[in-house]
Symmetry: none
Subunit: 218 residues, 4 copies
DNA sequence: CATGAATGAGGCTTCATTCAT
DNA sequence: TATGAATGAAGCCTCATTCAT
């Protein structure tokens, strides 16, 4: 009945406690599942109601429109997708040299994202799909990314460039390559070929090595 | 009546001439635009008809269902996405030393795909989006990939591994990294951040260098 | 809200109370009228909605498809058409000498069916017309007939054959002649020539006499 | 290719030769089959065109509307159904006492109708069904019946009533009983239970006996 | 005379949303 | 607060009919 801790956790944006009635949680869960399976536009509110075990009207009591329901799902996700960079400890650790190398940073980042995607695959699917069509979501994401991630990421990179560990490419390029490589692995792993056999540990390590070699000039 | 050469070209699958009436071409063009803009599910056939300048019924004279219209667009795209590997010369050139190195091969591949994506961006968007929801499209793609790309790609990789140019990782992994890196660049360039300023030549060269360093152990 | 007792009565199949919202009753009434007038295929759901005074969507909230609406009307009719044989008393009465003769039985049967057809003419029209095109309805009818009518009717006939009242033809033939004669009268009376002047009492009595003479060899 | 003699025969109304192009005949044949199978309203002109092997437009070159096509089928049928009464020889025979008895007349009538229905079952189905919905067809039929059949039938009956062979009921009633009995047999035989095993000869003879006993008071 | 592409009205059905209970 | 019947706009698709070829 209150197994929806993960949902509350996820919807929490600034450590504010989220109030989520039982029905509300069921609606969100159902909507997440269905949007991920069939896409936002192809999912009907009545299907969501049925899967959530509530009346059709109940959905609209909590979310004024279907689009609002989507935003209620996607907006916290926007934040969470970039969360590791927001988490104060995380960034601080890097700058306080708890990570001795860019490689260690990358490794931590990848593991973190791996766990997140694994746990919240449906959310990722929704997020990715709807990003393409709803410019409001896209703008929101870009704003959050630039404001909270870009600058910090850039500083991390410059830090390790100064230390000579990684190559002197424009930070934007390094970010793109890093993100692209990690995201490329995760997409292949969880969305494009999820049914293939995967030795996750090795494949992640190989990916890290690939990335590091790519970013190093010895 | 005239300008739809590119469409005919695109729809051609086995070098068979494609017959495309004027109206049919207009319908396809309109559908491609709208599916790319709003997604398949969110686009109505009446909108397509309006944009194509035909009666709604006309769409259904040419395509039995809306889904058929999607497939008429996506099916040839599936092949074209993967096209360079379908062209015998492309692969032959690699082995007959037209490409002295994996790097040259990658460079050719990237330029080729860059041009393709640039030219057919809407198609790529549709393809990528709908892949997620239509298992028939996904299966089609996997089939084409395995049948026409995988083996050839693998041989190319093994060839350059034998020559010692690239690292001895499992070919599947090398393929993933190569594809991921190229696709990552193209997606960022054309879909995620198309509005940013791009120095395409340099960024592609950087990407190739990144990829090659990642795949080399000197 | 009030007058639809006959409808509820009609839809009742196993003496279970039928719940019929106001709108639902109006939809059924309208559908019965229109199907009877123009036939199922030639009647549009929008016409039905208009005549019922509801929104077209409301029809589909109650009946998933137009065909379901037809079946909701025809299925109970199938049973009712054959009803007197379903009532235990009716058959029992025959054997317990409430009916001294086949003639009395026929007379009771005819009056009963006369009243039914008179009251439910539109239903009869629908039933008879659609029987021809929907094999599911036809099968339903045959099943009900064989299961609930045939055996009982046969026993009644054999009973009066034993008593020497009616001729020793195969019961199937006697059934056919009886049913055909009664139905022939009712169809002519109510469907083929309803506008002619009819002295129902006399004509029914004549028909009974005709039937009895036909089935008697004195 | 010109096996459509039966069609031409059927469409002939007053011994005028009917001109029927190849395509026209195919259209009529196809329409008859489909109207009989699915009903007029549920059959589309494109289906008819397909089954006839002609273009959709061709139908409308020969018949201005779909309804006209139906009438082209039904109108001659209207005549043919009552044809035996129209055929001069047939009636003349009766009045010139080639038929010694009403029974012989009935027997000839029944055999004639049996052959006709057997041969033209689809037409009968169409005719019967559409009679119910198209008042123009119904009126046409009633007019033809009253003008050509009723009077003659009545005179035949009165003739045999005078001779004392059949009972002194109102001719209308005798006609109804005769027609009803014959039609009842044919409907049961060919439409309601066509799949049952039938010994046609015996069953027809039984029916005639039934009818004659019903109409006789000895 | 025949064709079949094109039409647009209209068919059945689904949908997001409202509102009385 | 929750319900679910009701709505009517809109969705996909079919149809009879027209007309240029």
């Amino acid at each position: 009945m209150n197994d929806q801790q993960w949902l509350k956790e996820l919807l929490k944006v600034n450590d504010e406690e989220v109030k989520l009635s039982d029905k509300q949680a069921k609606i969100l869960e159902a909507a997440i599942e269905m949007f991920a399976e069939k896409g936002y536009a192809a999912t009907s509110t009545s299907e969501i109601a049925k899967r959530a075990g509530v009346a059709e009207g109940t959905i609209f009591r909590h979310y004024k429109t279907k689009k609002d329901l989507l935003l209620a799902i996607v907006t916290p996700t926007v934040t969470k997708v970039v969360a590791p960079f927001l988490a104060k400890e995380f960034v601080k650790e890097v700058f306080e040299n708890q990570y001795k190398s860019y490689e260690d940073f990358i490794r931590a980042l990848m593991k973190n994202r791996y766990e997140f995607v694994k746990k919240h695959l449906p959310l990722i699917r929704i997020f990715w799909q709807e990003l393409a069509f709803h410019s409001d979501i896209k703008e929101q994401f870009q704003a959050v990314f630039i404001e909270n991630v870009y600058e910090k990421f850039k500083r991390i990179i410059e830090y390790f460039q100064t230390k000579g560990e990684i190559v002197e490419l424009p930070p934007t390029t390094v970010i793109r390559m890093t993100v692209t490589t990690i995201a490329g692995f995760l997409l292949t792993r969880f969305i494009i070929l999820p049914d293939q056999e995967w030795d996750d540990e090795s494949e992640m390590e190989r990916t890290i090595q690939f990335l590091m070699h790519g970013l190093t000039r010895k």
